[in-house]
Symmetry: C4
Subunit: 201 residues, 4 copies
């Protein structure tokens, strides 16, 4: 770390290390909601399925953010004021996911809980935008970086639109709202996203 630090410019390494710590805690404390039933019998275990399903979805969601954050910051070259504060804003938005996940599981995917869940998924997507703009402006500038930013901006816009579409669809059925959240996860898992194919035609 210290190698990349100059006197007046603290290194990007500690921003990554702190973000790794916060994201690692966010992704792991969600499992504390999976409370082991005190009564014996597999029937009591089985009743935990909504909490478990919400956990799986949110683990994938936060995991995707870690991967994106990891890639985005690998393009950063210096730690600006903006980078530090908008990174904290992103971490704050992500820190609300355990709360909305607990609510989603505890309310058995009710309409209200699904709406709140989609909103807490939308918040990090919005906080990601200024962080990406800063790193695009001050980070590495090669062809690979340009390609990376173009593709992820597209995916980010697509994700935000899908979450927004999920809000009215949740009024039709919460399952449709959850399907939107799942669709975004799929979009990020695929190495070559359908969004790119569509744009690159």
């Amino acid at each position: 770390m210290s190698a990349s630090d100059t006197e007046s410019e603290p290194g990007i390494g500690r921003v990554e290390a702190f973000s790794d710590g916060v994201i690692a805690i966010i992704i792991t404390i969600m499992v504390l909601e999976l409370k082991a039933p005190e009564e014996p019998g597999l029937a009591h275990l089985w009743r935990l399925w909504p909490t478990f399903l919400a956990y799986v979805l949110s683990f994938a969601y936060v995991g995707i953010y870690w991967v994106n954050h990891h890639r985005l910051l690998s393009h950063a070259r210096r730690v600006t004021n903006g980078l530090v504060w908008f990174n904290l804003l992103l971490l704050f938005a992500l820190s609300l996911v355990p709360f909305s996940t607990a609510y989603l599981g505890g309310q058995h995917f009710s309409r209200d809980a699904t709406l709140l869940y989609l909103v807490t998924m939308l918040l990090p997507a919005l906080a990601y935008v200024p962080l990406q703009r800063i790193i695009r402006a001050t980070g590495t500038q090669g062809a690979a970086a340009r390609l990376y930013h173009r593709q992820t901006v597209r995916k980010g816009v697509a994700a935000a639109l899908i979450y927004l579409a999920g809000l009215p669809l949740t009024f039709v059925s919460p399952a449709l709202g959850i399907a939107c959240a799942g669709l975004v996860a799929l979009l990020w898992f695929l190495p070559k996203s359908p969004v790119d194919s569509w744009f690159d035609r």
Copy 2:
């Protein structure tokens, strides 16, 4: 890390890594106080607003400490006994923030809770002073370091005075005490602080 370690002088990297870990946990476990309501209905969600507001304020507070700590330690050159112990003292003071935050939210910003909250905000500000003195004495010594230390000492003194002013103001109204805490946060967010402008006239 190992590159900067000599036989008798453990590197600054692990002090940063440990501090990052502790601060990351402090900033994240506060969200555990946001307990998802078991009853359905948005009215029950809405009742969480004091806990949520206290969380927002404390997240900003601890986040600012991380940023300051990150910058301060980038000026350190060697790990002295004093640096290690006063760093632990600062982490201890910060570790009380989740407690006073839970109390502030749970007591709906009562006078007693606001007083306790301001005190736990004052403690890290006091613990920061010896840490800063040590790093100023043993760390990097260029013009940028001198400017950095001068500006942050000013901000630190201003912050401590505002917290102290908040204590009697809380007896007038807890909202004034909380406003003081918010004012300090603002002071740190601004890249060029009004305190500097005032001094530099």
Copy 3:
């Protein structure tokens, strides 16, 4: 870290750091299940033995995974998509261990709890397979790496078979299922495993 980062290839260091964070949290939050009794007297302490025993076993289990992960990733050379996602899958599987450990201790090693425990021990073993295949294919290729992968694949297969054998044995007696979990731990603790000796004859 930044030294090993090229423009398009984020470094392995952050994958290790994030995994370290998640595994450190998983291994440590299990101790929260050890709830200090509110009543005085050593008899109340003594009643915690099933929870304590489950904690010891799971600490060893997660600790072994950390050691294996640490060694495996030391052979990785680049961060591929597959490595990132299968690493997240492994962390997800490990994150279920605190849950099944709490259930095992809370149910006093009942048959159902032992079955669930063995299943959550089997899951990381399965998630480890694709991660190891990816690192074998894209990582360092010397004789030491080949020997390492051959030995750990053998141990991994042996461990999975012992966990599988533990499932029917648990129907005979939960103690036999737990003995299987303990046997796997022993297998990994030994530097030169009996599995190797058996294969190398």
Copy 4:
């Protein structure tokens, strides 16, 4: 990190990073025992003093272990099997401190709780011995390292003897047992320990 990794020898950096993570979590989750009272009034806050005092003592204790661990591992040169497993044993022993701290505070420093507390303080001291022996044998070998090991072995033996002496003294009065724990903390805080002065006469 990657610089110090050879093909067959994973670096010491990840052992430090994982230990930092675990110790950071141990030291921070203890604050969760400080539960904010739901009733208003400073009298309810005041009743938390035993829990608070136990927290202060344990924070100092775990903090001292982190400092010692940090210094000890700065003398390590290679990651052996023994180092990894005995390091995990030390982390396991330390992970019991939050439990005994909660018990100590919850039982208002009763005799039984003080005995348990002293035992969980003795365990890491014992687990530290083999770790130190391994690093003394395989780590850096200069005069500074020899001096370091000689001094810390003395302090370690003195600490263990004081904890042991605390056990019968607790039967006289728990305050004497707690005083022993405080005495050990003092011993480690002092840069030039009285133990050394006594030996060096």
